[in-house]
Symmetry: C2
Subunit: 578 residues, 2 copies
């Protein structure tokens, strides 16, 4: 149950695998150097360990409550939130103009990994504030920025993303919530929303809801959705809090996991709101938030796997059964059984791979925003390409590593008090929200691959191969080649109107791409370790474990990538369940 933020691995991954060194070299963050990055990650880890980790279990047991009017967070969460924002964590990567520290988003995500690992339910609250900050920074008016960003960046208020309705999940074009203009640039929102994470709580005096709704004259479907901002408490002209706005939580869902994160049904009953960005461009604006949130969810996947693995390693060291295959010791720690070691080592290797992919994606975003002008389009394309892989591959990994970590506990893993079961339950949401992993794969092969004719992927593969010059293990090159082969097949299918064929191979392709890129990340770790003369044996072993357990099987995934739609089409409802 104890947790220690993996500050050494996070710092190494940020600086030497994901490209933190490249961020430093650009000079775009004048204060940033390796020591600062290490110090920031260490301080984040301290907050995670000391403020958040202890509330993870009690939050799971007690959960957040709703009386039909207000949500009460789990005990201790309000105090933890106060201590959290005192540390300035909400503003780490926000512009100094709004009170932030202007550091790279990649460093912020490295820090947030520790928060999610310590307490995934808690971490969702600041995660959604970050998404609201990103949306307002990108499409908010100057007035909106001036009023709301300082409050969100300080953490004095939190933000919420208000998208889903019962009939409008993946297909947000079906949204029915209405926005009636009432003059003076103001609107009244009416409708019911579901799955609103941290949609209500009393940890802060105000909550900023970013709401998708329809204007009266809006065209039907996705091109008629607009983005609105509705604060829980309206603001007086002097900026002080006025009366409560006309929306409230109806209930919180009874969920499999993340019990301390209130997932609200919200009723908007003529709630006062202002338009954010342009009318009928709400979906595009919301995707700004979504993309930041998608990477953040990928980081959650890494985080929950890290926490679960630490628990399993500790258990495997304490629990003694049978004779060690290595030392011959009787009544040995189960950690000394090669199969237990294999489960843990594969988990560690996959965590390192996913962490590298997620932080690489964040670094690409930082370079796209603040890197050398000429390189920005290239990094924007890289960020766009990596986002669905970072989200989906990392969160599937999170579920699988949490499951293996539970397995390492044997029968004790199935008992709730051990804690392993909570990670298995909590982890399961991450492949679903912010766009299911299936939707991520469609985004990958559509907008990200076919959208530029494969250009961003070619650039990525070229960089990987150049980076890997002299690498001895052919399995990594074979995996990268398989990505190229799969991509060519998917581009061909999409270019010749065999859309269903491409869609059938989307998730297998994403998985293949994640496997291959993960191998590259681990190889980068080996190279960095050799260069630095530290943890060389460990990094080589992690690569080796990853290569034999994942890379060797990666080219075989091409069968699934190219399976085509025919067999699937014939397996209709009757054929699937008879």
């Amino acid at each position: 149950m104890t947790f220690r933020a993996p500050i050494e691995d996070l710092t190494f991954s940020f600086l030497h695998i994901a490209g933190g060194e490249r961020l430093i070299e650009t000079g775009a963050w004048p204060d940033l150097d390796g020591d600062l990055a290490a110090a920031v990650i260490e301080a984040a880890g301290q907050t995670a360990d000391e403020v958040l980790a202890a509330l993870n279990r009690t939050g799971d047991q007690t959960g957040a409550r709703c009386d039909g009017k207000d949500v009460t967070p789990a005990p201790g969460f309000k105090n933890a939130y106060d201590r959290f924002i005192e540390g300035g964590w909400m503003g780490l990567a926000a512009s100094t103009e709004w009170g932030g520290q202007g550091l790279p988003k990649a460093l912020e995500q490295a820090c947030f990994e520790t928060f999610h690992a310590a307490n995934m339910a808690f971490g969702l609250c600041p995660m959604l504030s970050l998404a609201a900050i990103e949306a307002l920074e990108t499409v908010g008016s100057e007035a909106q920025k001036g009023v709301y960003l300082p409050k969100l960046v300080s953490g004095e208020w939190t933000g919420a993303m208000v998208l889903t309705e019962p009939q409008a999940g993946t297909d947000l074009g079906q949204i029915r919530t209405t926005a009636e203009p009432i003059g003076d640039g103001r609107y009244r929102l009416t409708g019911q929303k579901i799955f609103i994470t941290w949609g209500d709580h009393d940890m802060t005096p105000n909550i900023v809801h970013m709401v998708l709704a329809r204007l009266p004259d809006a065209p039907p479907g996705p091109k008629g959705i607009s983005l609105f901002l509705a604060p829980k408490y309206l603001l007086n002209s002097d900026g002080s809090l006025g009366e409560r706005n006309a929306f409230h939580p109806v209930s919180v869902e009874h969920k499999l996991g993340i019990h301390a994160s209130p997932t609200c049904v919200m009723a908007y009953e003529g709630a006062e709101a202002e338009l954010v960005g342009e009318p009928n461009k709400g979906l595009a604006h919301m995707f700004v938030m979504m993309n930041a949130a998608r990477l953040a969810v990928g980081v959650e996947g890494v985080a929950i796997a890290e926490r679960a693995l630490q628990g399993a390693v500790a258990y495997a060291e304490d629990r003694r059964q049978g004779r060690s295959a290595w030392s011959g010791e009787a009544d040995a720690p189960i950690l000394d059984h090669p199969d237990v070691r294999r489960m843990l080592a594969v988990g560690r290797a996959r965590i390192e791979a996913a962490r590298g992919i997620c932080l690489s994606c964040a670094v690409a975003g930082d370079l796209a925003r603040s890197g050398p002008e000429a390189e920005r389009p290239r990094w924007a394309a890289r960020q766009a390409l990596l986002t669905p892989v970072a989200k989906a591959w990392s969160t599937d990994m999170g579920v699988e590593v949490a499951s293996q970590a539970l397995q390492v506990h044997g029968g004790m893993g199935f008992i709730e008090e051990t804690g392993a079961a909570q990670h298995y339950r909590d982890a399961r949401i991450a492949p679903i929200y912010e766009g299911t992993n299936g939707v991520q794969a469609l985004d990958l092969i559509g907008r990200k691959l076919a959208g530029d004719g494969g250009e961003a992927l070619r650039d990525l593969l070229a960089e990987a191969r150049a980076d890997l010059t002299g690498w001895a293990d052919p399995a990594l090159f074979a995996a990268l080649d398989a990505v190229e082969t799969g991509a060519a097949w998917l581009l061909e299918a999409q270019g010749t109107d065999r859309q269903a064929d491409a869609l059938a191979g989307a998730v297998p392709f994403l998985n293949l791409m994640g496997d291959a890129l993960g191998g590259w990340m681990l190889a980068r770790g080996v190279r960095a370790a050799e260069r630095l003369g530290e943890q060389v044996e460990r990094r080589r072993a992690l690569y080796e474990v990853y290569a034999r357990n994942l890379l060797d099987a990666a080219p075989g995934r091409l069968g699934a990538v190219r399976q085509g739609e025919a067999a699937l089409r014939s397996l209709d409802r009757t054929a699937l369940a008879r």
Copy 2:
């Protein structure tokens, strides 16, 4: 939430894939023919649908309770149990000598699949009675058989397996519970046991505990364990129930899933017992029960996947989002999105594969017991070889299909009321109990593979290849070849004192073997469909989906089989979590 037992698929799999036809041909079961098998499975399905399925959700919500003295099952379970045993299901495969119907165990397991699918927590109770029956039939004295078997076979009493102690899980040699002789062939058991499934309840007037304990003069370790029988209520000389025996449940565990199955901490405080079988041979005797239970747990894996998949198919038919890639229909059922179809179709194909493997294992057991005399050793070896694969591969599949089924539900899958989350929670125990899947893999490569120098596996592969003459898809043969290659490597490693190398590859080898055998099962399904002229297109499509998604990747698993121990050894505690 609705469930319909898959009686058509079960009958097809039993008869045409797993070898039910072969059982009929032997004539060892004179009444058995295809119609009888179909009728029995249909009747089982009716019991599952009408008696057990509706209690699955309420049982999860209420759970079994313990007041420190007695266990109270979830509401409705006692009545359901009465109806269950009225159907004669406990005695389906038991000897007619004890009131059973003497049908094949494979047919019994086909029926039990429907019970486990309808209500996994309930199904555990009769499953453990079956294991007690098997142990008594094999090693009980004539007197013990005469007293206990009629009661267990009728279901009037239930059985429990009492093995685990806190320090003795996988390593049962560590058991400390003592058995003091008190003369007259009787003993007093003293000790504490944990993880005792259905160790107490009030559904029947008596419960037969099969308990592992140590005699006073027993050698230390696994060779000093004996098997005892201790009834909850002692028997008077006329066979009527006497006073309560000196053992009781202390508490039930708070578990991730199967809440309605009471997992008891049991205290034995001088409980009166009789020895079963020979002194100090308890572990060997208990393995008779364990092996039957291991196959039964594999069947549970199939069952929970079936139930979860049915829920996901129903949801995917009802839930409408987006445009169909096939029909172009707007607001189409998500079942018409190729990626959703892929998740469901892969699940269905894996269920069919696992069902085939489990029932093939059961058929081998039937032939080993009752088939032509000369063939019995061959089938006994086949049963032994298939048991760990049936248990581990099917239960891992159960977890993964339950997880994918939850994923198909999107956000609703994470809400407990949908029911998908329960399957995800319930499924997770099956890879753990009756020997973790890691232990199954060690059994496979040790006792089952190295134990006979690979003979049983060679026989299996030869039969598969002969059976597949003319099969067009090379992927299946490549998978079988990979099994052969992997087995040769493992035999070589074990033969040259590279035990740790072999242990590192055990689980990957078991997974590879399951993938390959599953492909054979699906191919057998195609052949049978073609022969019978029914569901030909469906069976071909299931094979195709399985082949592209699993078989094509199977040879790539050899990397993990042959990974060796070196990298794992170097990833010690510090390297795994720093």
